[in-house]
Amino acid sequence: MALASEIPAKMTLDGDRSHAANRLTFVLLIVLGIAMLGSLAIGASGASLWGALWDLATGGELALRDRVVLWEIRLPRTIMGAVVGAALAVSGATMQGLFRNPLADPGLIGVSAGAGLGAIVAIVLGGLLPIALQQALGYYVVPLAAFVGSWATTLILYRVSTRKGRTSVATMLLAGIALGALSGAVSGLLVYIADDTQLRTLTFWGMGSIAGATWSKLFAALPLMAATFVAAPFIAKGLNGLALGEAAASHIGIDVQRTKNVAILAVAASVGAAVAVSGGIGFVGLVVPHLLRLAVGPDHRYLLRNSALLGAALLLVADIISRMVIAPAELPIGIIMAVIGGPFFLWILLRRRGILDM
């Protein structure tokens, strides 16, 4: 057999989309930058980003209103939107790679439902906690409970579907559906016994919003949401290998079990924290990786990175729209995402029906 060095040189490889994926990363960085500027510039109050920047640049004094609106409201909200969007999109892409199914989504395997149950328990039954504890946890009681919910769901899921150190993807998917249904049922029961005020809170939380973002809330959730970003470079090649199946992945040198462990833990942390701070924002984890696979292919080394950028930009755009539609009031961002994302996703499915649509 000829040695590789004897083969005539050919520098371009047909069907290799890595260059296109890298170019797309560059484009998405610019898009995200524009979306972040837009998110800072647009809002209900008349505060002007450009005016404030001009004041800063010319050494002038920043108006108190501009400082509060830009620094205390719009900037944390912008960063929160970007991080939540990125976390949801990367979590979706990771789960889809892990389950080898383009429809797999944290929503599908019950992680989001578990987080939601945690949040609803906190909203409805939080008043039963000792007053001292309520005061100690204060603002964080709902986010913490949501995170505990997603964490617990993932642990149960993992325990159910793992035998002798090997995770059965089919069992995990089925168990996830069962756990999601269970979480939904218990959530429904809690909604049934909730009083009117709680119902209103539940409804708005469930529709999803990043309107309440503050620096303290952001810093509390950021480390957890960043889990998938940190994990992505370490699991990207493993997820590519898993596309061949677990056995073949192992044969090309992938530590399959470690890839699965890291992916599951990272997604649980990211989704738990994202659901906690933003409620039910759907479609990001489904639509973003799907679009990117259509554009530049399913290689996770580029897919995870591009998903983060596009997810962040998409959520920011949706958030900007949510501020503009009925200004000065705001629509929950989850509604915007569903209104944009649902028909868009259906359109993609209809347009490119067939095996390539995966």
């Binding site: 057999m1 290799d16 002798k164 596309a243």
Partner: protein
């Protein structure tokens, strides 16, 4: 060399393999043959560490059950029977999966060469899922070849494990793929192939292990194993072994009358 001793595999209450001993040498093509359900694919899965098994398997003196996935991947590649892919990878991207990260000039050359070797030049940009079963199988072979392109590295043989590599192929590509295995072995690498076609086995194998009901009936040179008596016993039907010019290859026509089993 590959040394498997006392291999036992159970699925539930059923023993699939009973205390099998199996050996393969580098520089040779070792074929595993036997009827459906005899356990030949299970044996391949046991010696590649894919299924839990009793007994020990060493490859180049490395205990495969203790070795890390990347250690094994460096010395052997495994071609499964069929590989459905989850996502729309192009052919080039599938072949790349056998390589470590990054695209360099050397890797591009390797991928191009591997595709040419399996007769799929110009298929790089095609979607894997659009190909026929036989073409997919050859793409997977190209992937496996890139993983262990050089049959010998630093004086150590590398290995190809092939599970029915020609099952979906036409006669021309059957010969092409078997020749790739033959060349790999002739260059010093080891090849272990589960085979369905006894004629191809006779043509290309140096050693044949005949499996029946989870036991090794014989493991020896083709002339010793592919005999009327052993084949008739293993396959529960009448088999006559002939020789014919020009290559003296064995032909194994199946006699029409079933033996009473």
């Amino acid at each position: 060399m590959l040394n498997a001793q006392n291999i036992t595999v159970r699925y539930g209450k059923h023993d699939i393999l009973h205390n099998i001993d199996f050996h393969a040498q580098p520089g040779a093509v070792t074929a595993i043959v036997g009827p459906n359900g005899s356990g030949k694919t299970t044996l391949l899965k046991a010696i590649t560490g894919e299924v839990a098994h009793g007994g020990t398997v060493t490859l180049n003196d490395m205990d495969i059950d203790a070795a890390k996935a990347w250690e094994l991947a460096a010395i052997r590649a495994v071609l499964p029977q069929a590989t459905p892919l989850a996502f729309p990878f192009t052919v080039s991207e599938v072949v790349q999966l056998g390589l470590s990260n990054g695209i360099s000039a050397a890797r591009v050359r390797l991928i191009v060469a591997a595709l040419e070797r399996v007769g799929l030049s110009g298929y790089g940009a095609r979607y894997y899922q659009e190909l026929s079963g036989g073409e997919q199988q050859r793409v997977q072979l190209a992937r496996v070849l890139t993983q262990v392109w050089d049959p010998v590295v630093d004086g150590t043989a590398r290995w190809l494990f092939l599970d029915e590599p020609v099952s979906a192929l036409d006669i021309g590509h059957q010969l092409q793929v078997m020749q790739i295995a033959r060349d790999f072995a002739d260059a010093g690498g080891g090849v272990v192939a589960v085979m369905h076609d006894l004629n191809l086995t006779a043509m290309f194998a140096d050693t044949v292990a005949l499996i029946s009901d989870g036991r090794v009936l014989a493991q020896d040179a083709p002339a010793e194993v592919l005999t009327n008596e052993l084949l008739s016993e293993a396959y529960h039907c009448g088999v006559r072994v002939n020789t014919a010019p020009p290559s003296g290859t064995y032909l194994l026509p199946h006699v029409a009358t079933q033996l009473a089993s």
